[in-house]
C-alpha cells in the first residue's frame, strides 16, 4: 500500500476528484493548506500598498491505494491537475505500513 499525497491548485480540486473517481479511487482526505515552492509567493500591489504574500493557497489531497494502483492514480492526478504554469504542485508517495478500519477492525487492503 502507498499513500499518495498531492499538492494542487485550489481550482483544480473538482477536476482531480473526478479523474480519481474514474480510475477507481474510493476515498481521499482533502485539506486547505498554504505553502510555497518554486513559485515563491507573489508580490502584489494593491492600490499602491505593496505587500508580499509568501504563502499561496493550495489543496492537499491524501489517498491510500494498493501498490498496483499507484501508477494509474499518479497519472490521473498529473493529467487533471496540470496547467503547464508554475505552481501546478507536487506529488509525494509514501510507503504505508498498515491500514485499519476502525469500525470493523479489518486490516490491510481490506481496510482501504
Amino acid at each position: 500500500m502507498k499513500k499518495i499525497e498531492a499538492i494542487i491548485k485550489p481550482f483544480k480540486l473538482e477536476e482531480v476528484k473526478e479523474a480519481l473517481a474514474e480510475v477507481g479511487v474510493q476515498g481521499m482526505t482533502v485539506t486547505e493548506v498554504k505553502g510555497f515552492g518554486r513559485q515563491k509567493g507573489h508580490q502584489e500591489i494593491y492600490r499602491g500598498a505593496e505587500y508580499v504574500v509568501d504563502f499561496l493557497p493550495k489543496i492537499k489531497m491524501e489517498i491510500v491505494v494498493p501498490d498496483e494502483m499507484v501508477e494509474r492514480v499518479v497519472e490521473a492526478i498529473i493529467k487533471s491537475a496540470r496547467t503547464g504554469k508554475i505552481g501546478d504542485g507536487k506529488i509525494f508517495i509514501y510507503p504505508i505500513e498498515e491500514a485499519i478500519r476502525i469500525r470493523t477492525g479489518e486490516k490491510g487492503e481490506e481496510a482501504l
Binding site: 481550482f11 498554504k34 502584489e44 496547467t83
Partner: protein, 796 residues
C-alpha cells in the same frame, strides 16, 4: 424489569416503573428494621422529581433522614445505590436532614432549584413535609433575590451554549427554548406566585387554555425527541447533531427521506420558539411587578395611534434595540393588520435594515408574525433547513445573520463600504439573497422572485435592478475564486464584464463576505478569504482600467451573441472587444472558427480600415511568433504601422497588422508564402533580414532626428503581465529586433500594442515568463537594459 426501564416506554412511564423498583428494594429493609419508617424518606429531585425520567439521564436523589446513625444510613443507601449502579444508572445523591438540606440550598443555587421539583418517592411523609414547609419559609421574602439568581443562571447557561433557536445542531436541554427553559418557567412560577403546575398558570390568567395546550404539546414533543435521541445513542447526548437527525426523524414517524428530516427540524424549531416565548412572557410579567422602572421596553400604548404605529414600533427597535413589552408582543401576535399599516412599515423597512439593531428587529418581526405579512415569502423559508457541510442555521436565520454581518463589515472594511452608494439596496439584497433556496439555480430563481417584491418597499426601477443583480450574482465571486484559475486574466475579465462597475463589485463583495460569515465559521476560512480577496483586487483593477466601459462592453458582447456562438464571443479578449466594432468582431470570430475547423498553419484576412490595410492573422500561439510575423513582413517589404496582437484562451494568436508597402514589390501573397516557410522552419528569417538590411536601410527616412528613446517597465498596471513600454523614433526593422530580443530572453508576449504617435513609435508588450508569471524585478531590469542596447545599435 430494569431492562424495561432502560429501553421502553415514555419518560413518564419510565419514571413510574422506576418509583416502583425503588420501593421494591426498600420495602424489605423497612420490614427488617422496624421503627425507622418515620425517620427516613427518599426524595426525587430535578427532572426525575418533575416526573420524567429520560433514558440515560441522571437520577437525582435526596436521602432525607431525621438524624439517623451512619451505619443505618449506609445500609439503606447501599441497598438502593448498588443495584442502580450495577444496572448502569448515573445516580447523584445527597444525604441530609431537612435542616441541612435547607442550609445547603441557601449556599448552592443549583440545589435550591433541584429542591423546587422535590417529590416524595418512599418513606416518611412527615419528614418530607418538614422539608417543603421549611423550603416555603426559606423562599418567601426572598423571592425577588431567588428569581434574580435563577435568571442569572439562565443567562449564563444561554451564553455558554451560545446559540439562537435556529441553530442546526440544537441543544435540547440547555439551548433557548430547551427543557431547562421550561424548568425555569416552572421554578419562576412556583417561587414568585406559588404556582404548583403549568395548569395553575392558566388559572391565574397568565396563559390562555390554548396557550397552555400549545406549551404542553411543545414540552411533550421535546421530551419525546430527547428520549429518542438517548435511545438511539445509548447514552446521554443532548445535542442533536446533524448526522443523528435523519434517524431521529424516522423514529419519530417522519418520512425517511430528506424532506422528512427537514419537517422534523422545522417542527423542533417551532417547539423551541413556543417554549421560549412563554418563558420570556413570564419574565416580563414578573419583572413588571418587581422592577416597574427597570427595563425600558417599547410600551403597548404605542399601539393605539393611527396607521403609523407598526412603523413607529419597529423604528424604535431597529434604532435602539429595546425589546417589546409583553402586552405589545401578544397584541401584535394576535392582530390582523390593515393594508395601510403594512404599507407604512414596508416603505421604511429597507432603511430600518441599515440601522444598528436590525437583527433584533428582524427576530421580533418573526416571533410576532409581522414578518409574514410584510414579506409573505418568509413563511415558506421559516426554519427551513439547509443540509450541507457549511450551514449552521436555518434559512431565515441565515438571512437575518447576513444582514447583521453587514453591520460588522461596515466597520471592518471602510474602503469597500465607501463604494456603497445606497446601503438600503445592499441590506435588502442581503435579506432576500437566498429567498429561492431549494429551487434549482436558486440565485437566478431568487432574482426573478425579488423583481416582484421590491416595488412594495419603495425601490425605484434602478434600485430594483441593483438588488436583482446582487441576488442573481451572489455566488459569482465565491464560485470563481474557488473553481477558476485566478492566474488567468480572462477569468478576472469575465467577472468584470458580469459585474460592470467598481461600485457594484464592492457591493457584491460585501454581500459575498456577509453571506459566508452568516453561514458558519467553516464557510470562510482564511484560506478561502485570501482567494476571494485576490479575485476582488484583480477584477477591480480590470474595471478601474476602463471606468464605466465594462457595462457597455457587456452589452456589446450580448449583441454579438446574436451572431456568433457563445464560446467564441466569450473567448474574445476584453481589449479586442473594446477596440473593434461589431462587424469586425464578427469577421474575427468567423476567421477563428474557420481556423479551428480546418486547422491550417495560419489564416489571413484583409480588412480595410480608414487608417489603411489591416491584415488579420490567426495562428496557433508559440514562443517567437510575433517576432516571426514582424520579421516576415519586414523581409517581404512591408512597414508595420500598427500592431494589435492578442492571445485567445484556446491558445491562438489573433493579431492585427496595419501595414503599408515599403517597396513596389511588396505583395501580401508573397509575404504569405514567406511566412508559411518561416512557420515550417524552411526559411532562416534572421539570415534573410541581415542580407536585406542594406536595401531596407535605404528605405528609411533620410534625415535622422535626434534619437530620443525611452524604455519603461511597468509592474503595476496589470496583475497578470509585466508591461514593457518603448517610445522611440519609428524605424521599420525595430519592431522585429525588439520582439526578437524578448523571445531570445525566454519571455512570452501575451499581447502587443504598437502604434504611431506623431513621429514616435509606441510599443507596449505584455510579458510573462514561460511559466505564466510576471517577470521578476531583476529579470525585467536585465531585459530593459538589453532593449536599450538594441535601440542604440539601431540608431548608430
Amino acid at each position: 424489569m430494569l431492562a424495561g426501564i432502560e429501553t421502553e416506554g415514555t419518560p413518564r412511564e419510565r419514571c413510574i416503573y422506576f418509583d416502583k423498583f425503588v420501593k421494591d428494594l426498600w420495602d424489605p429493609l423497612f420490614r427488617e428494621r422496624a421503627g425507622l419508617e418515620g425517620s427516613l424518606a427518599l426524595v426525587a429531585l430535578g427532572g426525575y422529581g418533575e416526573g420524567y425520567l429520560c433514558a440515560g439521564s441522571d437520577v437525582d436523589l435526596l436521602f432525607l433522614h431525621a438524624g439517623l446513625a451512619e451505619k443505618d444510613l449506609a445500609l439503606f443507601l447501599q441497598r438502593l445505590i448498588y443495584p442502580l449502579w450495577d444496572y448502569g444508572f448515573e445516580v447523584t445523591y445527597r444525604i441530609f436532614t431537612p435542616k441541612e438540606a435547607l442550609d445547603f440550598a441557601l449556599q448552592d443555587p443549583t440545589f435550591l432549584t433541584a429542591l423546587l421539583s422535590a417529590r416524595l418517592i418512599y418513606g416518611s411523609r412527615d419528614l418530607f413535609e418538614e422539608l417543603t414547609r421549611g423550603f416555603q419559609r426559606l423562599i418567601s421574602g426572598r423571592t425577588k433575590e431567588i428569581y434574580l439568581r435563577l435568571k442569572n443562571m439562565r443567562e449564563q447557561r444561554l451564553a455558554r451554549v451560545g446559540e439562537e433557536i435556529y441553530f442546526l445542531e440544537p441543544h435540547l436541554k440547555d439551548g433557548p427554548g430547551g427543557l431547562r427553559d421550561y424548568q425555569f418557567l416552572l421554578w419562576a412560577g412556583r417561587i414568585v406566585f406559588g404556582l404548583e403546575s403549568p395548569e395553575d398558570l392558566v388559572r391565574v390568567g397568565f396563559l390562555t387554555p390554548e396557550e397552555a395546550a400549545r406549551l404542553r404539546e411543545a414540552v411533550n414533543f421535546l421530551h419525546q425527541v430527547r428520549d429518542t435521541l438517548h435511545h438511539f445513542c445509548q447514552r446521554k447526548v443532548d445535542r442533536l447533531y446533524m448526522e443523528y437527525q435523519p434517524e431521529i426523524a424516522r423514529r419519530l414517524g417522519y418520512g425517511a427521506d430528506r424532506s422528512g428530516t427537514e419537517n422534523f427540524i422545522s417542527d423542533l424549531f417551532r417547539t423551541f420558539a413556543v417554549i421560549r416565548e412563554t418563558v420570556e412572557d413570564l419574565m416580563d410579567f414578573i419583572e413588571d411587578l418587581y422592577f416597574p422602572q427597570g427595563v425600558h421596553r417599547i410600551p403597548f400604548k404605542l399601539a393605539v395611534s393611527g396607521p403609523a404605529f407598526l412603523r413607529e414600533i419597529f423604528q424604535i427597535q431597529a434604532r435602539e434595540g429595546r425589546p417589546l413589552s409583553r402586552d405589545l408582543r401578544k397584541y401584535l401576535r394576535g392582530r390582523v393588520f390593515r393594508e395601510e399599516e403594512l404599507q407604512e412599515l414596508s416603505r421604511i423597512f429597507p432603511h430600518l435594515l441599515t440601522e444598528r439593531h436590525s437583527l433584533t428587529m428582524l427576530r421580533t418581526l418573526r416571533t410576532t408574525g409581522v414578518l409574514f405579512h410584510l414579506l409573505p415569502e418568509f413563511r415558506k423559508i421559516q426554519g427551513k433547513v439547509q443540509y450541507d457541510l457549511y450551514h449552521l442555521y436555518a434559512l431565515d436565520e441565515h438571512l437575518f445573520l447576513t444582514v447583521e454581518a453587514l453591520h460588522r463589515l461596515r466597520e471592518e472594511r471602510p474602503e469597500l463600504w465607501r463604494e456603497v452608494r445606497d446601503p438600503r439596496v445592499l441590506y435588502f439584497a442581503a435579506l432576500v439573497h437566498d429567498i429561492a433556496k431549494g429551487e434549482p439555480q436558486h440565485a437566478r430563481a431568487g432574482a426573478e422572485k425579488v423583481k416582484t417584491l421590491t416595488g412594495r418597499f419603495g425601490f425605484s426601477p434602478e434600485e430594483t435592478e441593483e438588488i436583482v443583480f446582487l441576488v442573481r450574482e451572489h455566488l459569482l465571486l465565491f464560485d470563481t475564486a474557488l473553481r477558476r484559475d485566478l492566474a488567468e486574466e480572462k477569468v478576472a475579465e469575465e467577472v468584470a464584464l458580469r459585474v460592470g462597475t467598481v461600485r457594484r463589485l464592492a457591493a457584491l463583495y460585501l454581500l459575498t463576505l456577509a453571506d459566508a460569515r452568516a453561514t458558519g465559521p467553516r464557510a470562510l476560512t482564511s484560506w478561502k478569504a485570501e482567494l476571494l480577496e485576490e479575485l476582488y483586487h484583480k477584477v477591480r483593477k480590470v474595471l478601474e482600467a476602463r471606468p464605466g466601459a465594462a457595462v457597455d462592453l457587456a452589452a456589446k458582447r450580448e449583441r454579438l451573441l446574436a451572431e456568433v456562438s457563445r464560446k467564441l464571443a466569450e473567448s474574445i479578449p476584453l481589449p479586442q472587444l473594446e477596440i473593434y466594432d461589431l462587424p469586425v468582431l464578427k469577421r474575427i470570430c468567423a476567421l477563428v472558427q474557420t481556423f479551428q475547423e480546418e486547422t491550417p498553419d495560419f489564416l489571413v484576412e484583409e480588412i480595410p480600415f480608414r487608417e489603411g490595410r489591416a491584415v488579420f492573422v490567426v495562428s496557433g500561439d508559440r514562443p517567437g511568433l510575433l517576432a516571426d510575423l514582424c520579421g516576415s513582413f519586414l523581409a517581404a517589404g512591408f512597414r508595420i504601422r500598427r500592431v494589435r496582437a492578442f492571445t485567445w484562451p484556446q491558445g491562438l494568436a489573433v493579431d492585427e497588422f496595419l501595414v503599408e508597402p515599403l517597396s513596389p514589390e511588396a505583395e501580401l501573397r508573397k509575404w504569405s508564402s514567406l511566412f508559411r516557410k518561416v512557420l515550417r522552419g524552411e526559411e532562416d528569417l534572421e539570415g534573410l533580414i541581415s542580407r536585406r538590411t542594406g536595401a531596407l536601410l535605404s528605405l528609411e527616412p533620410r534625415i535622422q532626428r535626434e534619437p530620443h528613446s525611452e524604455v519603461r517597465v511597468d509592474q503595476e498596471s496589470s496583475d497578470f503581465y509585466t508591461l514593457l513600454e518603448i517610445y522611440t523614433p519609428e524605424k521599420p526593422s525595430l519592431l522585429y529586433r525588439i520582439a526578437n530580443v524578448i523571445t531570445k530572453s525566454g519571455f512570452m508576449i501575451g499581447k502587443a500594442l504598437v502604434s504611431e504617435k506623431e513621429d514616435l513609435a509606441v510599443q507596449i508588450f505584455y510579458l510573462q515568463t514561460r511559466e505564466g508569471e510576471k517577470l521578476p524585478a531583476e529579470e525585467a531590469e536585465r531585459l530593459q537594459q538589453k532593449i536599450q542596447n538594441q535601440l542604440k545599435e539601431v540608431a548608430s
